[in-house]
């Protein structure tokens, strides 16, 4: 298929036609021969590696060529592993070189990148076995990062390169300054969404893992369980605020800011309703398998849990008095901190709710400082967006963003008891959604307006249903 090829208006000249026909004939002849060799119908050439190299240069995209080449390489590697480390090293390095040359003309070829990954894996395996450590192949792998740098200079959005680089990080242990690299990419071009995307993955990987969280709780106390550390979050928010000022009409910068604020919003129980025979537990976000993470002080029977929902229904237990809790597992020193839900945030704060004679009592928050931090950070960014909206009165991104942030704020506030605050915030959000539909009647605007209208009406009737 052709991408980005302008239509040729003239016929080929006779000279061009002849050249094309000659090339076509060569391709047909060589592929014909290649497949005969592959099927064993004719004898393989003396140097099958040289032959497949030729085929790869002629018809780079035929995957079967590389399958055959890998079969040959596997045999050669097995032989050379026994007694010839030097030749083995040379063999692998030549392979990297060949693929590099082919990638110049075909930078987005799945076939080539898969072959390169295979070559890296071979290098890693070979290093494990070889006793001569003076020619470790892993150093060749280190230079793979240079290839990535070069190719991203040619096309900073080439996802094959980004994925390959990300994969290298997972299979090797190079002290690679990922933070610096990603920041540089962003500073070179604030429109590089690929960089923001991978930065979000990087930040979570580094800061939101068991060991890191445990260490942070020791130094930062309760604030240590927020998925991104406070100081880092503040730096990133500053960076993206600048980007928004520079490029307010691009989708990417808004997405990254939205992630930064979204990822720190906790998941939790926002309401419990006791009826004659049921206990209905409502959460502030939709999730899967929430029941796995609730702990009751007495036996209780699960009646209904949606595959992906924000409420669970249990049968009311015999006891008049019982507790239900949702716990932050790091603070509880349990190993798995994650609750299975939408990937935007897997963050839970302790909640322990007492039910006595059908009345619900909210919990003591020994985590007030965390709630405060999250709520203040969100509010600050809402104020920032109000300023942006003054400058960019008809920029739908700014309105959608502020509405997202209001939604986050409401979702987190609903876990606390700040009802009055909640009502005035819903008022403001509804107002912005009305402004949005005035100048933008897309389905997205209408959808958001409807959502906030519902929230507004619920709040008026105090039907929001919060603890």
């Amino acid at each position: 298929m052709m991408h980005g090829t302008v239509k040729r208006k003239e016929e080929l000249t006779p000279v061009e036609k002849q050249a094309r026909d000659q090339k076509a004939a060569k391709v047909l002849e060589m592929t014909d021969y290649f497949f005969k060799v592959r099927k064993g119908e004719v004898a393989a050439p003396d140097d099958p590696l040289a032959f497949t190299e030729l085929m790869a240069q002629l018809c780079t995209e035929i995957a079967t060529i590389y399958n055959y080449r890998r079969e040959i390489l596997e045999k050669q590697i097995a032989q050379l592993k026994e007694n010839d480390a030097a030749s083995l090293s040379k063999l692998i390095q030549k392979e990297f070189q060949l693929i590099t040359i082919l990638l110049k003309k075909h930078p987005k070829s799945y076939t080539l990148w898969t072959h390169r990954q295979w070559t890296v894996l071979q290098s890693i395996e070979i290093d494990k076995v070889l006793k001569e450590k003076e020619l470790p192949l892993i150093q060749s792998v280190q230079t793979e990062y240079l290839l990535c740098v070069k190719m991203l200079q040619m096309d900073e959005r080439n996802f094959h390169v980004w994925n390959y680089r990300n994969w290298l990080n997972s299979v090797t242990n190079f002290a690679n300054d990922e933070d610096k690299f990603l920041k540089q990419k962003i500073e070179q071009n604030f429109s590089n969404f690929s960089a923001y995307h991978f930065r979000s993955k990087y930040l979570l990987k580094i800061h939101n893992n068991n060991d890191s969280l445990k260490a942070r709780v020791i130094t930062e106390g309760n604030l240590g369980i927020i998925p991104i550390p406070k100081n880092i979050l503040e730096e990133e928010l500053e960076l993206i605020s600048q980007a928004i000022y520079i490029q307010p009409k691009e989708h990417g910068v808004w997405l990254y800011q939205r992630w930064l604020i979204g990822v720190i919003q906790p998941f939790g129980i926002r309401n419990i309703i006791i009826t004659n025979d049921k206990v209905e537990i409502y959460f502030n976000k939709k999730a899967q398998k929430i029941s796995n993470h609730l702990v009751f002080s007495c036996p209780i029977e699960l009646l209904n849990e949606e595959q992906f929902g924000d409420k669970i229904i249990y049968k009311k237990p015999e006891q008049d008095h019982f507790l239900v809790s949702l716990n932050n597992r790091i603070l509880q020193q349990i190993d798995d901190p994650y609750i299975d839900q939408d990937t935007s945030s897997r963050f839970v704060l302790n909640q322990q709710i007492t039910i006595t004679e059908n009345k619900v009592y909210g919990v003591a928050n020994d985590l007030n400082d965390v709630y405060e931090f999250v709520i203040q950070t969100t509010k600050q960014k809402i104020e920032f967006l109000k300023e942006v909206i003054k400058e960019e009165a008809n920029n739908h991104f700014a309105y959608i963003q502020i509405l997202y942030l209001y939604r986050y704020l409401v979702s987190t506030l609903s876990l606390t008891k700040k009802i009055d605050d909640l009502k005035s915030i819903i008022d403001e959000a509804f107002d912005y959604s009305q402004k949005l539909v005035k100048f933008n009647q897309s389905q997205v605007s209408l959808y958001l307006n409807n959502q906030w209208k519902e929230s507004y009406e619920e709040a008026l009737q105090q039907k929001g249903g919060w603890l």
Binding site: V6, K286, T343, S442
Partner: protein, 319 residues
């Protein structure tokens, strides 16, 4: 400015005879012959010219198709090419379009063997993993009524790992969200009966893919391409949010991508090819098929609805 559907029938019917090409492309794409066959015949079905293929030609195509199936049950991109899950999927789809049968049991087994412990699917025995392959597996095995051969829950779980905070999907976990992978992932999750993700967020992401000229791009700040009309509009049909983009503008963009002599290109004024011709037509069939007398192409299976209606076990998956 164009405003109507160009006649594409002749362009499609004569593709294999058009050696008089401007580039060496035809000869270098022999590994794509089975995919090309599928795009061509499906496009012909869309413009209601499938039955204009001469009987002898059809017979040759059937024989050639059967020759693409290997001893391991999988199909290669052409005869003698090694098996791959994508080509196996194309082979199955092509067999439906040609109204013939291939060794479905063997093909199903080849596909089932590609599933890995984490639920993902590799393309072939060399191990590349991608949600394109998850889609090929779910689509093929549903069409063949062999879903029991794989672990559907795990397949869905892997695709969910490929969902990003922006509400959209990538090709592998950690990969950036991308319009073409939206089709693969939504199609797979739909067939797994696990549409357990925030649909409105996905629709909002897709909404932002529409550019000034009406066409859709694949990612933020990239250029529009007609093939994304299919990859994402089909997903909007599945999640029932078709009007979350400006349908008229998209329709108009596809029309502008046509060549007066037949065929559709990625962008107005560019070189046509059968891939973009098929995806442009298929998208049009969903957006406003009746106006252009196009046969509707199903958004999940990417085959004419009329063919799918004949398979009872498939009916519950037709949107």
């Amino acid at each position: 400015m164009q405003s109507q559907l160009v006649y594409h029938g002749d362009y499609l019917l004569s593709l294999d005879k058009s050696k008089d090409l401007d580039s060496i492309g035809y000869y270098l794409s022999e590994h794509l012959r089975i995919a090309g066959g599928y795009w061509t015949l499906n496009a012909l079905a869309c413009v209601r010219r499938l039955y204009d293929i001469p009987q002898e030609k059809k017979g040759n195509l059937i024989e050639w198709l059967k020759g693409c199936q290997n001893a391991d049950g999988g199909f290669g991109g052409n005869t003698n090419h090694d098996s791959h899950i994508t080509n196996t999927h194309y082979g199955i789809l092509l067999s439906f379009l040609l109204d013939t049968e291939v060794n479905y049991d063997a093909a199903a087994n080849y596909i089932a063997q590609r599933q890995k412990p984490d639920g993902s699917f590799e393309g072939d025995k060399w191990g590349e993993v991608d949600t394109r392959f998850s889609y090929c597996a779910l689509s093929s095995l549903t069409l063949l009524n062999k879903r029991h051969l794989i672990d559907i829950q795990k397949a869905a779980a892997f695709v969910k790992e490929c969902r990003n905070y922006d509400g959209s999907f990538g090709g592998i976990p950690d990969a950036e969200s991308h319009g073409a992978y939206v089709f693969c992932c939504v199609g797979t999750l739909f067939l797994c009966e696990e549409m357990t993700f925030n649909i409105d967020e996905l629709a909002m992401w897709i909404h932002e893919r529409q550019t000034n000229k009406g066409g859709l791009n694949g990612r933020p700040e990239k250029l529009a391409d007609v093939c994304y009309s299919w990859w994402m509009y089909s997903a909007l049909c599945i999640i029932k949010r078709e009007n979350w983009i400006n349908q008229k503008s998209l329709e108009n963009y596809i029309i502008q991508c046509q060549d007066f002599d037949g065929g559709i290109a990625d962008r107005p004024g560019n070189q046509v090819d059968v891939f973009h011709t098929f995806f442009g037509l298929a998208a049009l069939s969903l957006i406003n098929g009746e106006a252009y007398n196009l046969e509707p192409i199903d958004p999940v299976f990417a085959l004419p609805r009329s063919i799918l209606l004949k398979k009872e076990h498939v009916n519950k998956y037709l949107v």
